[in-house]
């Protein structure tokens, strides 16, 4: 068991090194130059000498390989460096934004898990019936909705037409709200982005749950449960749903990690001050150090989620535990 665990960690280490290297290479493969960002938009007004000076100050004239080693050094020392644009420490930029992204991703996860699991269970229970077919086809339709479009639709309905909810940001700017008023303000601002993210995440959870349920429904122990006279509700929740949860939990763990990436579009549409927006801005301006750092956070999130799922799975499903030992 211990050796297997070490092996697994070794695999993760390799994946980490490869991912970090890609994080370094990919941004630099994109055509484009961070000079405009460092100097401001009017690159046209710089003299050639001033341009050379800026490039040197930012270390852009150094050979790629030494930039690459600097990058590793910064990862290992935890010093992520400074943004080309704002000159501020990147760790600070990320720390400011990470909680907002966690709020959106976490909120959407809870909501999509709730609806996805319940609807998936119901759908599988009534397999082949009208309800199942209706749910299944509408979930597939939902899944194919573009997220920016759904976000804009919600803004135009709930903010522009009905004036019910704020259309942008995480809090009301310059409002000096404190205590419960502040909490309420934050929630009101989170509703539309969380709703958009949730609506788009529900189908995945639903499909996983439904499929997993159908598998369990065919198992012998369900017939046994029915045979011994357990009520339908008890069979559904006590036997089937419980055993069908393992793949869903794995799916949710990985989904949480990917929600970081999905937040890029949602946070842009809702001008939400999270990590995704930071990525959007840094990619647009080729702010290499910020891109690398943000992608690093994504990489670590995905790896941790996978790791967690790997270790959770045996706890949920004793059959996989046996195989490991």
């Amino acid at each position: 068991m211990r050796r297997a665990g070490l092996n697994r960690l070794g695999q993760y280490l390799i994946v980490f090194v490869v991912a970090v290297t890609l994080n370094f290479i990919l941004p630099r493969l994109m055509p484009g130059n961070p000079l405009a960002l460092i100097a401001g938009v009017d690159v046209g007004l710089l003299t050639p000498d001033q341009r050379a000076e800026i490039i040197e100050a930012a270390g852009l004239n150094e050979p790629l390989i030494s930039q690459y080693f600097d990058y590793w050094k910064s990862i290992l020392t935890g010093d992520l460096g400074f943004s080309y644009r704002s000159g501020r420490p990147i760790s600070e930029l990320i720390a400011e934004r990470l909680p907002w992204t966690l709020l959106l991703a976490g909120g959407a996860l809870v909501i999509s898990a709730f609806f996805g699991i319940i609807l998936g269970a119901i759908s599988a229970w009534r397999r082949g019936k009208k309800l199942d077919l209706g749910l299944l086809s509408s979930m597939i339709a939902l899944e194919s909705l573009p997220s920016f479009w759904l976000g804009m639709l919600l803004i135009s309905l709930f903010s522009v037409s009905w004036g019910l909810l704020p259309s942008f940001g995480a809090v009301t700017p310059a409002s000096d709200l404190v205590g419960w008023d502040h909490v309420r303000d934050v929630i009101e601002h989170a509703i539309l982005p969380v709703a958009t993210l949730s609506v788009l995440s529900i189908p995945g959870v639903y499909l996983t749950m439904r499929y997993s349920m159908l598998e369990v429904l065919g198992e012998d122990f369900i017939r046994t449960a029915r045979a011994k006279g357990a009520s339908e509700t008890r069979v559904l929740f006590g036997h089937v749903a419980r055993n069908a949860m393992a793949p869903v939990v794995t799916f949710l763990a990985i989904r949480l990690a990917f929600a970081f990436g999905g937040a890029v579009i949602i946070e842009t549409v809702f001008s939400y001050p999270g990590l995704g927006r930071l990525v959007f801005e840094s990619v647009g301006g080729r702010d290499f150090p910020v891109m690398q750092a943000a992608f690093l956070v994504f990489t670590v999130a995905v790896l941790l989620a996978n790791l967690a799922a790997d270790f959770l799975y045996p706890l949920l499903d004793p059959r996989t535990r046996a195989r490991n030992e």
């Binding site: 007004l45 009301t172 927006r277």
Partner: protein, 565 residues
């Protein structure tokens, strides 16, 4: 029919789910949201708009990019960063509504006859936000500071300055290496005066990190709060030397894109947008009460670039044919719905005093075809596309995907050039990619990686007519904005002459000649100068001043009428 019904049904399901999701979020997170779905409690945050008489006037403005701490050393962009910077600081001169610099912190501004020495006397009794007096030492310090710390826009403004000396109790004399006829526009109206007692304590500004405590200026507003990626909050300076501003608080909200800002002004969550709105939005916004539009000509440009170092664009006949074949009026009418000025082939905007009225755009497809026929570009294989050197005249035309107006112009250009047997394939790519192809590394010594491309310059390039050489000179050291690689000895000689010409009349003659030469030899094809149109909520504040190149949200708009230049 079936499909639209289905879509409607899906939407209903979506909405139901969304509503359910909202409830879930509320009850799950807190117990105090009982009234959370009460209509109208969240959108109109400023309850003061109904009775504006006594309550403070708060204006909420939208921008599309975080501008960081907007201090004079690190602020990010010319627009709107500079506008926000200058809320807090003053320059010696201030642009009026016609874009002409007027004395501001300066009481008088005098230029020597050769325009190489500028003498400025400053107003008495101005104080900084912290109560310290603003002195002539601060003025000298500010100019010296930007001369020594070479990063950024203000150092560029001061190219050619040899010394800044205090020559009186309230007087400085600025000496330049040569005549600088536009020094008032380029430098005096642009450079913020910064307090010596704050900035002399900042060592190594290129490494320093700034917080907003540094932002002590003399301007009508003081930055009191900055939340990254969210907002700025400026408070009025009641002791401003020209009188307290007409607006008590300015909140600047940072959006991620312009669609977000547009939704927010329509929902009443912001009151004005810094950036101009696109032509197709103008009517829609104007029709909505209480939104209004302020509109006028501006000096940005839209043009066709081509690689003039390569065949067939190295042939003047081809360039002239393209110029004749584009219907600029059609572009203005179709793409801009009239909200633009037809491009002058000689580069200079017709509203500029130095414009040569003899230079005008001509649209003549027959003449263009005749030019190409005479130059030997025949369509030998009858496919509707002419050939050069045995290849079809078929080119990739790059444009940046983020700008839908440019994309539409590109499509029109493609159709127009098809009329003269040139095939243009529009390729829409992401901004940085497009920039890197047209202007690799922002250094023309790196050459060009495009055949044809949409391009445009910001307003300052158009303002700088005295430095036209940067755009067209064939020597890369001088013509460092010459992205098409165009090189013509006559034009080179003319722009060289212009740069050192001290006599305004001779300079104007040279400018007329240069415009005529550009229009004839066509280093690029200028299509249009888009208008600026800005939207604001007139219920909150309606006294906006349109300043070409600066939009409506600048400090002038927030001052009482009597204090404006």
């Amino acid at each position: 029919m079936m499909s639209s019904k289905k879509v409607l049904w899906i939407l209903t399901v979506c909405l139901a789910l969304v509503l359910a999701a909202c409830g879930g979020s509320d009850t799950g997170d807190t117990t105090t949201t009982a009234g959370g779905d009460e209509p109208g409690t969240t959108s109109g945050e400023t309850p003061d708009t109904t009775e504006p008489s006594d309550d403070p006037v708060v204006v909420r403005a939208a921008i599309n990019n975080d501008e960081d701490t907007i201090n004079p050393y690190t602020y990010v962009t010319g627009f709107p960063g500079w506008n926000m910077l200058m809320m807090q600081y003053d320059s010696l001169m201030q642009f009026d509504a016609d874009g002409v610099p007027q004395p501001w912190l300066a009481e008088t501004v005098e230029a020597s006859e050769d325009l190489a020495t500028w003498t400025v006397t400053i107003v008495d009794g101005v104080t900084w936000h912290d109560g310290e007096p603003l002195t002539i030492e601060d003025v000298k310090f500010a100019y010296d500071y930007f001369l020594t710390n070479a990063a950024g826009r203000f150092a560029r403004d001061l190219a050619g300055v040899e010394s800044v000396e205090i020559t009186g109790e309230r007087e400085v004399t600025i000496s330049l290496a040569g005549p600088s006829p536009a020094f008032d526009q380029v430098a005096l109206g642009d450079i913020p005066i910064i307090p010596q007692h704050i900035w002399e304590t900042i060592e190594g500004p290129s490494e320093a990190t700034f917080d907003i405590d540094v932002n002590i200026g003399s301007g009508p507003f003081k930055l009191v709060e900055y939340v990254p990626d969210q907002s700025y909050r400026f408070e009025a300076n009641p002791d401003y030397f020209l009188g307290a501003p007409a607006v008590d608080e300015l909140v600047v909200v940072i959006f991620a894109d312009d669609a977000g800002a547009l939704a927010a002004i329509r929902s009443g969550e912001v009151d004005v947008i810094f950036d101009r709105v696109s032509p197709e939005q103008i009517e829609l916004l104007d029709a909505q009460d209480p939104l209004d539009i302020s509109q006028g000509p501006e000096f940005t440009t839209q043009m066709i670039n081509y690689d003039a170092t390569k065949a067939p664009f190295d042939d003047i006949a081809v360039r002239q044919a393209i110029d004749l074949a584009v219907d600029r009026q059609d572009i203005v009418d179709t793409v801009y719905l009239g909200a633009a000025t037809v491009g002058s082939p000689g580069w200079v905007h017709p509203d500029k005093p130095v414009y040569n009225p003899d230079v005008a755009a001509v649209y003549d497809v027959d003449a263009a075809n005749a030019l190409l026929d005479d130059a030997g570009y025949a369509d030998t294989d009858d496919d509707g596309i002419r050939e050069f050197d045995g290849q079809p005249m078929s080119f990739e035309y790059l444009t940046n995907a983020e700008d839908s107006l440019r994309l539409r112009i590109s499509e029109l250009v493609s159709e127009m050039l098809a009329d003269i047997g040139i095939e243009v394939n529009v390729a829409s790519v992401e901004s940085s990619t497009w920039e890197e192809a047209v202007w690799p590394g922002f250094d023309i010594n790196n050459g060009r990686n495009y055949e044809m491309a949409m391009w445009g310059w910001s307003a300052p390039v158009q303002a700088n007519t005295i430095r036209l050489g940067q755009l067209v000179h064939g020597d890369p050291g001088k013509g460092f904005l010459n992205l098409t690689g165009f090189d013509d000895p006559d034009l080179n000689a003319l722009v060289d002459q212009l740069e050192v010409e001290g006599d305004p009349e001779t300079a104007q003659q040279l400018l007329n000649d240069i415009q005529a030469q550009i229009a004839e030899k066509l280093p690029f094809v200028l299509l249009a100068y888009p208008d600026g149109a800005y939207v604001y909520n007139s219920d909150v504040y309606g006294d906006w001043e349109f300043i070409a190149g600066q939009g409506i949200v600048s400090k002038v708009s927030l001052l009482p009428a009597a204090a404006r230049p």
